[in-house]
């Protein structure tokens, strides 16, 4: 299995006032293509920072970050923005949909950046909504959808531009157990059937159990990693 995510000797510090706090300490990590990885750990352990580095939202202070075959730590700001558009799909805890746009228009957002015709964009949006089982809700606004449906719209938005990596920050954190299981099943399907590499931060052990591998981050370092069946 080739590597989808590779972090070598990564250090990340934050400035808090005059102090510099090291959040990740010489961290090494390797995630294979198509893996479904759950990152767990206590609050402040650095798991969200790790996710932000993988997603190209933040930069490491030192070390090498290679994601989807690109050394993203060496990209300029503009290059990193373009890289994100084509290589990573993001799923947030609170969905972060545009309230004034319909489900279809929300899913279409990443496609506006690509040189696609309106018909091509519409076809891709329909396909993404079909995958998440919300074809019949395309015209609904987020306020007209349940939490689970909103998160599925967010997943459709994340995968509509067909990125190899999906990253989720507590994607089931705002959902009840049943709905959370539906969303996790969907993520597993995307990993298993569509070959997407899914990296998810979660506090929920039941959610983590769905992943093929669990990583535990503690005090800025990987505590252990277990590959599950």
């Amino acid at each position: 299995m080739s590597s989808a995510v590779s972090l070598v000797d990564v250090v990340k510090r934050y400035r808090r006032g005059k102090e510099s706090v090291e959040v990740l300490h010489h961290l090494n990590l390797d995630i294979g293509e198509g893996e479904f990885v759950a990152i767990m750990g206590p609050s402040g352990s650095g798991k969200s920072t790790l996710l932000n580095l993988i997603g190209g939202l933040d930069r490491a202070d030192s070390g090498a970050v290679t994601v989807a075959g690109h050394r993203i730590d060496q990209l300029s700001g503009g290059e990193l923005t373009r890289w994100r558009a084509g290589n990573v799909g993001f799923i947030f805890q609170f969905y972060n949909l545009m309230p004034a746009l319909s489900a279809a228009a929300n899913v279409e957002l990443p496609l506006l950046l690509l040189p696609l015709s309106r018909a091509q964009r519409r076809a891709r949006v329909n396909a993404a909504l079909e995958i998440v089982g919300l074809s019949d809700r395309a015209r609904h606004k987020p306020s007209e959808l349940s939490g689970g449906q909103q998160q599925r719209v967010a997943i459709a938005r994340a995968l509509v531009s067909d990125p190899p990596i999906l990253v989720g920050d507590e994607p089931t954190g705002d959902l009840d157990r049943t709905t959370a299981n539906e969303v996790l099943d969907l993520l597993r399907t995307l990993s298993q059937q569509f070959g997407k590499t899914v990296v998810m931060v979660t506090h929920d052990q039941k959610a983590a159990d769905v992943a093929t591998r669990q990583l535990h981050v503690d005090k800025g370092q990987l505590a252990d990693s277990g590959r599950l069946s």
Binding site: G78, T81, G86, N96, M98, P99, A100, L113
Partner: protein, 397 residues
């Protein structure tokens, strides 16, 4: 044909259509706030269209002033009368190629609100000096021959339904007749046009011979002389030469260019340009704060949404462009509505300004200000989202 899609306008249009739902979503997120802001801008541009339109109509006469014409008027005030006897002396000044005179009659029809811009002129010389007034030869001859005759502009004729042969009663606010009344009547003998300056068709010209004979005061005096000169570059020297002729006399003169004369004439009504500029300036200044505050508040409330857009791959420039596009959409929509309103109201002002439609230059000026307003008010919030740190914004910091 295949290169047509690369035309800048088509490219911008395609891009605008593509992002229109996103721009529209931003604007309609808080419908009430957007509506009130829109209405404020509409009212501001309605006011701008009306005031600037009036100002433009008034200025048109000044802009159309001929450089080869001078006006000889009283030195102390333009209302001071000058002796008709000056005529020959002015005509003898080197460089003077034509000469006529006129007096302000100041009349109204039936009611004081129906002002008639009327002038007593020397019919045989006046129209030769003002070729922009198109009066048929036979009608000019009729004016010269008919002592109580008058010629009127096409707009004035249309306004009151006057036609050649009609006798029209005009009351003067200045001149009483020898019989003690201010009731004058004139026979319409001609209708003139002034192509390109419909406002000038509100005027009435009457015979000075009849006017001078019938009035009770200031007989043998004229309001001002209009002088045509051989070369506009000689205007200063010729003006000085004319004024020297009458220095230290009972009626000293002040010779100015036609443009200066018309500006001074308008200032008798009031410095319209200053008044309009002051009002419009104050309105736009207030609007700047109102729209700027709305844009800033709207963007501040949507910081997480912009952070998500940047997460999805929207560049700093793209989010800045979106905010500016929102500002442009709001400002231009309101400006168009306001200017359309002003254009619709303009025909009702025709009696006052003499121009039946909103001048296109005012529309262009309005749209330019709308773009300027959008850029100024959207730039600060736009830069804020462009510089947004995604991680901090998503974390609500």
């Amino acid at each position: 044909m295949k290169y047509l899609k690369y035309h800048p306008l088509i490219w911008i249009g395609t891009l605008a259509m593509k992002y229109l739902p996103l721009i529209w979503a931003g604007l309609t997120r808080k419908k009430l706030m957007t509506t009130f802001t829109l209405l404020s801008i509409v009212v501001a541009f309605l006011l701008f269209g009306l005031l600037q339109g009036v100002n433009s109509a008034f200025s048109r006469g000044v802009e159309g002033a001929h450089l080869d014409r001078l006006v000889v008027q009283g030195k102390v005030s333009m209302t001071d009368q000058l002796p008709e006897a000056y005529r020959q002396q002015i005509a003898n000044v080197a460089g003077v190629t034509g000469l006529t005179f006129a007096s302000w009659f100041g009349g109204y029809y039936q009611d004081t609100k129906n002002s008639i811009f009327s002038f007593a002129v020397d019919a045989s010389t006046y129209f030769a000096l003002f070729p922009e007034i198109h009066l048929p030869r036979n009608e000019l001859d009729a004016l010269v021959k008919t002592r109580t005759g008058a010629v009127i502009g096409r707009a004035l004729a249309d306004k009151y339904g006057w036609k050649i042969g009609d006798t029209i009663p005009i009351k003067s606010t200045i001149w009483t007749k020898t019989d003690g009344t201010a009731d004058w009547s004139f026979q319409v003998v001609g209708v003139f046009t002034t192509p390109g300056d419909p406002g000038a068709e509100q005027r009435l010209f009457l015979n000075n011979d009849y006017f001078d004979e019938a009035r009770s005061l200031n007989k043998g005096m004229v309001g001002w002389y209009s002088v045509r000169i051989d070369d506009p570059s000689h205007s200063t020297a010729i003006s000085a030469a004319i004024d020297r002729l009458f220095a230290n006399s009972d009626h000293e003169t002040k010779t100015v260019t036609e443009k200066e004369f018309q500006q001074a004439f308008l200032k008798q009504i009031g410095d319209i340009n200053f008044i309009v500029s002051s009002i419009v300036g104050a309105v736009f200044f207030a609007l700047l704060f109102l729209t700027g505050n709305t844009m800033m508040q709207s963007v501040r409330e949507r910081i997480p949404e912009f952070a998500v857009l940047k997460t999805l791959g929207y560049s700093d420039r793209a989010v800045l462009t979106l905010v500016v596009a929102e500002g442009l959409a709001l400002s231009l929509t309101a400006a168009v509505l306001g200017l359309v309103g002003a254009a619709a109201a303009f025909p009702m002002l025709q009696d006052f300004v003499g121009v039946p439609s909103l001048p296109p230059a005012v529309v262009g000026q309005g749209l330019f200000y709308a773009v300027l307003l959008a850029l100024v008010t959207a730039l600060a919030p736009g830069l804020r989202v462009a510089r947004l740190n995604i991680v901090d914004a998503l974390a609500g910091r």
